[in-house]
Amino acid sequence: MISFELSEQQHQIREMTHWFAENEIRPISLEADRLGYVPEDWLEKVNQFGIQLNTSSISNSKNESGNKKGVREGNRMAVIATEELAWGDPAIALSLPGAGLGGPPIQSSGTQEQKERFLTIFKNDKPRWGAYALTEPEAGSDASNIQTIATKVDGGYLINGQKIFITNGGRASWVVVFATVDPALGRAGQRAFVIEKGTPGFTCSRLVEKMGLRANETAELLFEDCFVPIDNLLGGEEMYEKKNSKRSGFQTAMQTFDSTRPIVASMAIGIARAAYEYTLEIVQQGFPVSGKYHQMAAEMFAEMEGMINAARLVTWEAAWKADQGIPNAKEAAICKAVAGKMALDVCAKSLELLGPIGLEGHIVEKLFRDVKVFDLFEGTNEIQHLVIARRQYEPYGIRV
């Protein structure tokens, strides 16, 4: 039956994460932006509380057990919780300890041993992070064209190449790194490796300065003859060697997107809602109750509300499909494209409403700087269009 009511568990997690976002994240939001990092002691503290950005509950794997009624709702839970965290502050939300975007590929493609080895390290004793490294300087949106080379050697692979725009890439305990055993093989040649911090030949060459999300670390990673043992090949050698196996790192990357795009979309929604609510509160305090400014504001808020709501519903739909085990690549692309664009628009409209006082250190300008990347990473808006169109033309045997 069609329904838009939250389950009890969903309701609880929303309330809890909202409380945390409002009382723990938001108060340090502007300060963390100014510092360019999230204070260590704050991270220690929240890690002790066990608060993480839990993307690894997002999974299409069939062996997830579901709740006591046997209903899997992990994806819906994750998008609901993520929206609230990003509402608090998206840069801080992305900096929360945990596997981050590195979680889904391990969850979906890792061996049981790998899952245990990599996903159980996120403990209360100290904050730890995972990371996900796909993008390269010359590849951009073209995930099929990665140039990082994995050369088979005795007992493992030597990795050579460079990765850019890696969220938490410098501080991560491990990074899921995509490389190719042979660029000529295209997608089929791709492999995913879990490379641990401190591995010789693996360095974080630089942290980049960005338009926004300044409190969140964005790293460039360098791999120079970096030896990775065979046990760190995601899924293990056998997975790729199976007869007729079409499995490659490329599939892992693509499947990861199906899980992470709704998460990224919910962050954009959280940002938009934060800007909307903040501006609405100011407007409700200081605005005339009628007249042309009232009407201007009314029209803009109604439009923003509708856009935010629409983006949330398509995101829920993508998450619902994932929970049902139904392919959701199209919906994942839709929610990402819709939310990324919508959120920038809502932040710009909010600033328009605030007018010049928007330059006086209100959070809305920060949200505007933060939000643009949500239309860029995890596949640009253009890539989402391509994915959507590809699905739409599939019945006609045309690959656009």
Binding site: E303, G306, L313, E317, H385, Q392, Y393
Partner: protein
């Protein structure tokens, strides 16, 4: 629990509706438009399938379906053609007024008529503050009402046996009442409408000092306004669902056309100028459908946000249908503009529909007024 899964019953209904819409309605659409009314055989068919009484209360022998079911079925029917569906006789938007009034409050006389005869209702409403002065006036003297002047164009006006009219009297009180062609006189002026929904029997209704009896009054004052508010919430959602059906039709048609036609030695679909627009159409449709479903559920559950959702939905559906039908014409190029292909009709029907069912910006300002008045500011569902 958040779910996008229709019930089995809804799926079964919808399947029938898609078949009927996509085949029978689609096939007869051009002919209906040319005639200016829907072919009686098609009406017999849709009557037989029961799709004309979904909104009617059970007491009037209607199906009284929840909105969430109706919207899915209406989408499927209008996948065939919006104009034809809008031309179906029956209670029309008046059904939502009757649904809101509730069984008990429907006057016995009207109940009898609706049940026993094939009654078609046109619904005219000129209560809302409007941009221009209303040409229709209701005056009250000695406790008798008199209606004079010309209504705005109303759907089914041409073939209506009954009217439901909501209007403010000269003292500013809203009066909601029935008129009956057998007793009350009105002139029908068919609109010189070449735009769209030509088969929807749109007409101006003219009244020359028409009076009506007390028992034709459904409600007055706040009560009447409350009924209209609730009825419009339903009407908006139902109309948005109809618009969605046309949007899906336009998307599918344009998808097939661009997948099968070539330019520059490539299927049109291979050009991002084409495929990205198709992707945008897909997104619009997803969003409009979700809006509709959410608003329908909220209304079925008597959620306090229902009217707000309906307003947002209608804004999205108006914007969406204009974008998607225009896009379909654009993607067909010159073929989009000629009558051998259905999309030019769809674009015209879409535009007629949006100007008949409320200005886009009005939905925004109405919803916006609610938002600014609310103390609870969260955009949470």
């Amino acid at each position: 629990m958040i779910s996008f899964e229709p019930t089995d019953e809804e799926k079964a209904f919808t399947e029938v509706a898609y078949k009927f819409g996509g085949e029978d309605i689609r096939r007869s659409a051009r002919e209906n438009e040319q005639k200016g009314f829907v072919h009686h055989e098609l009406i017999d068919q849709v009557n037989h399938l029961g799709f004309l009484t979904m909104e009617e209360p059970e007491s009037l022998d209607g199906m009284q379906l929840p909105l969430i079911s109706q919207v899915q079925i209406l989408e499927a029917l209008c996948y065939g053609d919006l104009g034809t569906v809008q031309g179906f006789p029956g209670l029309g938007d008046g059904a939502s007024v009757l649904r809101v009034i509730g069984d008990q409050q429907i006057h016995e006389e009207q109940r009898h008529f609706v049940k026993e005869n094939s009654c078609t209702i046109a619904f005219a409403e000129e209560v809302a503050e409007e941009m221009a002065q209303s040409r229709l006036k209701l005056t009250k003297s000695n406790n008798a009402y008199m209606l004079h002047g010309k209504s705005e164009p109303v759907r089914l006006g041409n073939i209506a046996t009954h009217l439901i009219i909501g209007i403010k009297d000269d003292a500013g009180e809203t009066i909601l009442f029935w008129l009956d062609k057998s007793r009350n006189k009105w002139e029908v002026e068919t609109c010189d409408n070449r735009l769209g929904l030509r088969e929807a029997n749109i007409a101006n209704l003219s009244f020359d000092e028409a009076s009506f009896s007390e028992n034709q009054i459904i409600a007055k004052g706040n009560n009447a306004e409350k009924i209209l508010q609730l009825a419009y919430t339903r009407i908006y959602i139902l109309q948005a669902a109809k618009q969605l059906g046309l949007m899906v039709a336009a998307l599918d048609y344009a998808t097939e056309y661009t997948a099968t036609r070539k330019a520059f030695q490539q299927p049109l679909a291979k050009f991002q100028g084409v495929s990205f627009r198709i992707a945008q159409m897909v997104m619009e449709i997803k969003m409009v459908r979700n809006h509709i479903w959410q608003a329908a559920k909220a209304t079925d559950d008597s959620h306090s946000n229902a009217e707000g959702y309906a307003l947002s939905t209608m804004f999205a559906a108006h914007k969406g249908i204009r974008f998607v039908t225009d896009s379909a014409v654009q993607l067909l190029g010159g073929h989009g503009y000629v009558q051998e292909y259905p999309v030019e009709k769809w674009m015209r029907d879409a535009q007629a529909q949006v100007i008949l069912y409320g200005r886009e910006r009005e939905f925004l300002t109405r919803r916006g007024d609610q938002i600014l008045a609310e103390t609870e500011k969260k955009v949470m569902s």
